[in-house]
């Protein structure tokens, strides 16, 4: 039973990932679609950050908000992503002590 679930899940996660690899050589996109696709990473990042970040700690959105704000500040100062991540972890560690 679990094996069937694993096989089914792997098919439905694999196909959306690899079909575009074939699509992009079969179809020549119009210019506006190319622009749309090149904006997708930023939009995806936005959608993945919010509102998810509010649920970093259950029932206390302030933890995610403060952690996120620290990350924004550190990133704005030009710190390497690694330090942004570690800084945010330490912040959350401290404020949830």
């Amino acid at each position: 039973m679990i094996f069937i679930i694993i096989i089914g899940m792997s098919l439905v996660t694999m196909l959306p990932r690899i079909i575009p690899a074939f699509l992009v050589e079969k179809i020549i996109f119009k210019d506006w679609i190319n622009k749309w696709l090149s904006a997708i990473p930023y939009a995806a990042l936005g959608a993945m950050i919010f509102p998810g970040v509010l649920y970093v700690k259950e029932n206390d959105p302030s933890v995610g908000i403060i952690g996120g704000l620290v990350a924004i500040i550190l990133a704005f100062l030009g710190l390497n992503v690694m330090f942004v991540v570690v800084g945010a972890i330490l912040t959350v560690l401290l404020i949830t002590m």
């Binding site: 089914g8 792997s10 990932r17 939009a43 993945m48 942004v84 949830t96």
Partner: protein
């Protein structure tokens, strides 16, 4: 003769540099994946899966949120078809992300290469790869993207295995705090792009707003897809011809 060895030397230096850079930029992904993967291993075991089954799920499904949902649904004895459909919905966003990524690397990476990269595409490996898309112009760009994807993949699979075998090895407070890691990674990737081009912030805020509003009316999976598509659509107006 000399020229050939000189070329080979240059090539292997480039390969090494791409691997090094790939590992560097994917360390934050690994850091974020470790506590989540360990937790998955623990939860899956509680759901009645064997170590082999849960490691196989991580290796072949390789989709964090879907795996948690799957394990949860197994606990509540949902049918296989329900679990598979829910997984499809939650992971459909990867179609959009993959299409965006493949479109940008198409001229430099062949079909086989693109398929192999696509297999390992996740929210995080897509985000890191897409914001280092300039590496696609490099002769060894494929190596860079593959390094990012493999680092993330191996961390995930190994982490879930360890979670299943060892149980809780990270103190709970620390692993809870590490829940911010992947969000911080996304923020850390996004802010430099906004600094470079302030218009990016419009795309981001639009995507956030649409995702937030849509999530009140539909499942998380579709809401993220909608937020990404509509947010990205604003790029059509905002971006000039250059891309």
């Amino acid at each position: 003769m000399n020229e050939i060895t000189e070329d080979l030397k240059k090539d292997s230096t480039r390969t090494y540099e791409m691997i090094k850079l790939g590992v560097q930029v994917s360390i934050p992904i690994a850091l974020g994946y470790i506590p989540v993967a360990l937790t998955f291993g623990i939860l899956a075991k509680q759901a009645g899966m064997s170590i082999l089954e849960l490691t196989m799920m991580s290796a072949f499904v390789y989709a964090g949120a879907s795996q948690f949902m799957g394990a949860n649904m197994i606990i509540h004895s949902a049918s296989a078809i329900e679990i598979i459909v829910a997984t499809f919905v939650l992971n459909f966003r990867h179609f959009i992300m993959s299409l965006s990524f493949m479109n940008q690397v198409q001229t430099n990476i062949g079909t086989k290469g693109r398929v192999s990269l696509g297999l390992g595409l996740t929210d995080e490996s897509f985000a890191v790869s897409a914001l280092h898309i300039d590496k696609a112009d490099n002769k060894k760009g494929y190596i860079f993207f593959m390094t990012v994807i493999l680092t993330a993949y191996l961390t995930w699979v190994l982490g879930s295995f360890l979670g299943g075998v060892l149980g809780d090895i990270i103190p709970e407070h620390l692993s809870n705090s590490m829940g911010i890691a992947l969000y911080a990674l996304f923020i850390g990737l996004l802010v430099p792009s906004i600094k470079k081009d302030i218009k990016v912030i419009i795309i981001v805020i639009l995507a956030m707003a649409v995702n937030y509003i849509a999530s009140q009316y539909m499942s998380e999976g579709w809401a993220i897809v909608l937020g990404t598509l509509i947010g990205g659509l604003s790029g059509v107006v905002l971006f000039k011809e250059e891309k």
